[in-house]
């Protein structure tokens, strides 16, 4: 496996040889920030194009096909349109909160995004408590949504924001508990540690029954947390026009839109990292030749392949199931999903104690 930390160490030593360490760290931070923003934007464009095409095929349509071959420049055209649109402020609204809300949502998304390890040695934030930090950072976004609903001075926005708040706060518990199930098995909370643990088999195989249940509950809870799929009632078009981002236009709306897609990618990438091994290639114990061949495929290819596979699963769910009602949504979480997650956590703990995993 190619270790990306060779590159970062070389850059760091070269920079420190010509300037004091503080400046070197500062320059590295700026470079990393630019890199995160670029990757974020590129991924968003890829995801929006993918969503349109997948949605089109699920509904027996062609999807975008006019701008460029297979419509592949459609999203670029949309981005240009969005950038040139006027940003207006609704009357009698709290301007400060109205303008702040999209930034809170996008900052939460950036913070979560920077926790993801893309390749061996290429993780931007790798704390001891990485998984916990990820949950903490993703919980900021709900405040942005609540403030957007409040700041818009619009009853549809407010109802959408309240629904979204209730939904995200409840489903965060299930998402956290399913991740905890994986943490119990791996015994570490840092992403690099979790991936190292999966060197001889992905967690979904090593943890078998509880790991599969945790993977599925995490996907459901994650899907609800990014307001997508059958759980998109905060922006239910038929009832609330567009929910909490009704009053937003131009790039402010663009931030919500970007954050929605990237949050879906983050959910998929976290599921891929924790349950499907992240950048770790498919290794089967005993087959050394097979493992050696698999090692030739670079880590980031594995990573993005797995993440986009899970993204496809999420889109499949979104375009297959109809939207739930808010009471169904909340009773599903509190009466079924969360007890299931707790029982599953207990099952995993028992399995680890008695050594029943691979």
């Amino acid at each position: 496996m190619f270790d990306f930390s060779i590159v970062t160490n070389w850059v760091h030593s070269t920079l420190t040889s010509v300037m004091p360490e503080g400046w070197a760290v500062f320059i590295e931070c700026v470079v990393i920030a630019v890199w995160i923003i670029t990757l974020y934007a590129l991924l968003a464009i890829a995801l929006i194009y993918m969503e349109r095409k997948v949605c089109g095929f699920f509904q027996c349509r062609l999807g975008p096909n006019r701008v460029g071959k297979w419509g592949c420049f459609q999203v670029f055209a949309d981005v240009l349109k969005m950038l040139t649109k006027e940003i207006f402020n609704p009357k009698n609204a709290d301007q400060f909160l109205y303008n702040l809300a999209p930034f809170l949502v996008i900052i939460a998304s950036f913070l979560t995004f920077s926790c993801l390890p893309i390749n061996k040695g290429a993780s931007i934030l790798d704390f001891n408590v990485g998984v916990f930090f990820l949950l903490a950072a993703s919980s900021i976004g709900v405040l942005g949504i609540l403030l957007a609903g409040w700041g818009s001075n619009n009853k549809y926005s407010l109802i959408g924001a309240m629904r979204s708040g209730a939904q995200i706060v409840s489903y965060e518990l299930s998402a956290g508990l399913s991740i905890m199930t994986a943490v119990v098995l791996t015994g570490t909370m840092s992403f690099s540690g979790i991936i190292e643990y999966q060197a001889d088999g992905w967690l979904i195989f090593k943890g078998h029954i509880p790991a599969i249940i945790a993977f599925l509950t995490y996907l459901v809870a994650g899907n609800a947390e990014c307001n997508r799929g059958p759980f998109d009632l905060p922006e239910a078009e038929s009832e609330l026009t567009a929910g909490y981002h009704t009053e937003y236009s131009g790039m402010h709306f663009g931030f919500f839109y970007l954050a929605e897609y990237l949050n879906m990618f983050i959910i998929a990438a976290v599921a891929a990292t924790i349950f499907l091994g992240g950048w770790m290639p498919l290794h089967i114990g005993g087959l050394d030749g097979f493992n050696a061949v698999m090692d030739f495929i670079p880590g980031f290819v594995w990573y993005f392949a797995k993440a986009f596979f899970v993204v496809f699963l999420l889109m499949w769910i979104k375009w297959t199931f109809p939207r739930l009602r808010i009471d169904q949504l909340l009773s599903f979480e509190w009466k079924y999903l969360m007890p299931l997650c707790m029982a599953n956590l207990l099952l995993m703990t028992l399995m680890v104690v008695f050594g029943l995993h691979f």
């Binding site: 503080g22 760290v25 500062f26 709290d94 400060f96 909160l97 702040l100 704390f127 001891n128 408590v129 916990f132 930090f133 949950l135 903490a136 950072a137 919980s139 900021i140 709900v142 405040l143 609540l146 403030l147 609903g149 409040w150 001075n153 407010l158 924001a161 309240m162 708040g165 706060v169 965060e172 570490t188 909370m189 840092s190």
Partner: protein, 174 residues
């Protein structure tokens, strides 16, 4: 004193905390006040991260920013109308506030001048491992936190039971 990147970040965070704390209490609208309080809590989490206490920083973010602030904003949205602004403070109360502030500042300055700050040998930031945190939280030896942990559990249970009792609709009341 040599200016390192840590000092710059610390000064920035400290200024930010001061500014947002003042704004929290001086702003006229209650939702804005909650937002400034959120920024204060974030910057505090930033100081924890600067010190290498990543666990404490994450807890600060998930509990205060993700939990308590959402609760505040939610209850503000549910209870208050749009024109529900803070009332003006009367002049007589203003005097009491001023006295409290000056008294607090005096106590703080006194403690600050008397207290012997420990000189840390190197500014190397070390992360505490999650394993040691977990064992200390659940152990009853010298650095163990089992008793406060259990006390808080009982306290939270009492809160939950109380919440249910208050929220429960009274059935068949004759």
């Amino acid at each position: 004193m040599e200016i390192t990147i840590q000092t710059v970040v610390f000064l920035f965070l400290a200024l930010f905390i001061t500014l947002t704390s003042v704004l929290t209490v001086t702003t006229q609208r209650i939702v804005r006040s909650a937002t400034y309080l959120l920024f204060t809590l974030f910057a505090t989490a930033g100081i924890y991260f600067l010190l290498g206490y990543t666990f404490l920083g994450s807890v600060q973010m998930i509990v205060y920013a993700g939990g308590i602030m959402v609760l505040y904003v939610f209850s503000i949205l549910l209870t208050s109308g749009r024109s529900d602004n803070v009332e003006r403070i009367k002049n007589s109360r203003m005097f009491a506030v001023l006295a409290a502030v000056l008294g607090g500042a005096a106590i703080l300055l006194f403690i600050y001048s008397k207290y012997q700050f420990l000189q840390v040998g190197d500014n190397k930031v070390t992360e505490v491992t999650i394993q040691s945190l977990g064992t200390n939280l659940m152990s009853s030896n010298k650095y163990g936190y089992l008793l406060p942990f259990e006390a808080i559990s009982v306290f939270l249970l009492a809160c939950i039971v109380g919440g249910i009792v208050i929220a429960q609709k009274e059935e068949d009341k004759k």
